[in-house]
């Protein structure tokens, strides 16, 4: 059997998995999630996913607000809205996205907000934003990849045009014979599906190939959120009660390396009504490998003025074992104050959006 990186990774995963099961200590409760949350506002409040509205257009927002104003909608106890104003309000232009940094920032900007109600009144309001300062992994901004896809798109159009020119009569679809029109419509649809399916596989291959080279490019994302709550269930007396800040930076130093820094800071009012509850954490992770299988070394530090700071170091790996299924495993040690050093481990299967073949 050939000892490839994939084989080494699989063996390492099995060893760590056995090790993890024996120790039965889960690292997930200790490790900070280094990614900036998709919707920072929802991270500060406890929102049921079903109570989140994600309007895609300004019209959808207007309709929803209209329904609420007219009393046609009963709001749940917690209710959230997440939207991208750039995507909703601006006419989308790929050329502008690729050439205009300000517009690209607005397209990627995400706003989130939510309300919590108590006794029918609003008791807390949360607002958040997530933004990308730069992202060299973004395939939409990759002009070389765009040129590849334009070439493929041109071939699809050309093949379909050639087919219709040879097989579809010139009077279609303006003849008076409805049956004939339906017949040719189905012929065109079948051929269009056939041609598009053929090129879909090529597009996926090209995308996978580009992703292999882009996975460790530079990226900087940030998220901010704030919560205002009212002690007496009226919006008039809302005061800021919680703030959150998230920051993620990633970059590769060489072809098979990616280094990530994740920072999280949460501040909340305590019972004395002062911002004295502060929690912060930092994660440094260095990957070696490729997009689909990689090992990493990670260092975590967690600070809290309510608790003893803790530090952890672990070794782990991630492997794309099937389309959309990721295996993640890690093992390491954690030290909190003067407590005995603890062995930590994790073994997870993670699902992501499967790719269309």
């Amino acid at each position: 059997m050939l000892i490839t990186p994939k084989v080494v990774f699989a063996v390492m995963a099995v060893i760590i998995a056995c090790f993890s099961t024996a120790l039965a200590v889960n690292v997930d409760s200790l490790r900070t999630d280094m990614a900036v949350p998709g919707s920072p506002a929802f991270n500060l409040m406890d929102v049921d996913q079903s109570a989140i509205m994600r309007p895609g257009t300004a019209k959808e927002i207007a309709i929803s607000i209209g329904n609420i104003m007219l009393g046609g909608v009963v709001l749940p106890q917690t209710f959230g809205v997440e939207l991208s104003p750039g995507m909703m309000l601006m006419k989308k232009s790929l050329h502008e996205y690729q050439t205009n940094a300000k517009k690209r920032f607005l397209y990627r900007l995400n706003l989130s907000g939510g309300v919590t109600r108590a006794g029918g009144e609003v008791s807390a309001i949360t607002l958040g934003t997530r933004f990308t300062l730069f992202d060299e992994t973004d395939l939409l901004a990759d002009t070389n990849f765009t040129r590849l896809l334009i070439d493929i798109g041109g071939k699809i159009n050309s093949e379909l045009a050639g087919y219709t020119s040879l097989n579809i009569p010139p009077d279609y679809p303006f003849s008076s014979d409805t049956l004939k029109i339906r017949y040719y419509e189905s012929l065109i649809a079948t051929e269009a599906t056939k041609i598009n399916d053929k090129y879909s596989r090529i597009i996926k291959e090209k995308r996978d190939s580009v992703k292999q080279t882009q996975w460790n490019k530079a990226i900087l994302e940030a998220g901010l959120a704030g919560m205002g709550a009212s002690p007496d269930s009226t919006t008039e007396n809302l005061i800021a009660t919680k703030y959150g800040l998230w920051l993620t930076y990633g970059d590769g130093l060489w072809e098979n390396n990616l280094n990530l820094v994740g920072l999280r800071l949460l501040a909340a009012r305590d019972t004395s009504n002062a911002f004295k509850q502060v929690n912060g954490s930092i994660v440094l992770r260095s990957y070696i490998g490729e997009n689909n299988y990689k090992g990493y070394l990670e260092g975590d530090g967690t600070y809290s003025n309510q608790d003893i700071p803790s530090y952890a170091v672990s070794l782990g790996g991630e492997m794309n074992i099937a389309n959309g299924i990721w295996l993640e495993t890690s093992a390491g040690v954690k030290k909190q104050g003067k407590n005995r050093t603890e062995v930590i481990s994790s073994f997870n299967l993670k699902l992501s959006t499967p790719e269309i073949k």
């Binding site: 895609g56 257009t57 006419k91 989308k92 232009s93 790929l94 050329h95 996205y97 690729q98 050439t99 397209y107 395939l139 939409l140 990759d142 002009t143 990849f145 765009t146 040129r147 896809l149 334009i150 493929i152 798109g153 041109g154 699809i156 159009n157 050309s158 379909l160 045009a161 219709t164 020119s165 040879l166 010139p170 009077d171 679809p173 303006f174 419509e185 065109i188 649809a189 079948t190 269009a192 599906t193 041609i195 598009n196 090129y199 879909s200 597009i203 996926k204 995308r207 959006t353 790719e355 269309i356």
Partner: protein, 128 residues
């Protein structure tokens, strides 16, 4: 795969030349091919290709005088390709202009792409 959308365009035979403008509202890659066919035949009058990743104008003047386009059929093949797994929405269309005025158009509905790529076909017949 979407079925072709078609429309008859009435225009002024005595007016100025006809122009075709390709409209995109998407961040995904879109390429198009416009083919103008002679009345009652598949003979090609013009065959133009383009895409949405450049700053060039996607407006084309049809050749000859306006009346020469009577009965001609314009086929617009527009293929949308998503760059990442996330995909997105797209809305595409063709606008027909004469003497600086938009005289007709076809716009697809705003749709979310389901596969990696999709082709929309829009067909116009010019009539004066």
């Amino acid at each position: 795969m979407p079925i072709p959308i078609h429309k008859k365009v009435s225009y002024n035979a005595a007016g100025g030349p006809l122009s075709v403008n390709v409209v995109f509202d998407t961040l995904m890659v879109c390429t198009y091919q416009l083919i103008l066919r002679e009345n009652g035949s598949n003979a090609t009058v013009i065959d133009i290709t383009g895409d949405n990743a450049n700053d060039q104008d996607d407006t084309y003047q049809l050749p000859g005088q306006a009346r020469e386009n009577n009965g001609r059929i314009l086929w617009a093949y527009m293929t949308v390709i998503k760059q990442n797994e996330k995909g997105g929405n797209y809305q595409l269309g063709i606008e027909i202009y004469q003497d600086g005025q938009k005289i007709d158009s076809i716009m697809t509905k705003s749709k979310r792409i389901t596969g990696n790529n999709v082709t929309e076909i829009l067909i116009f017949k010019f009539s004066c």
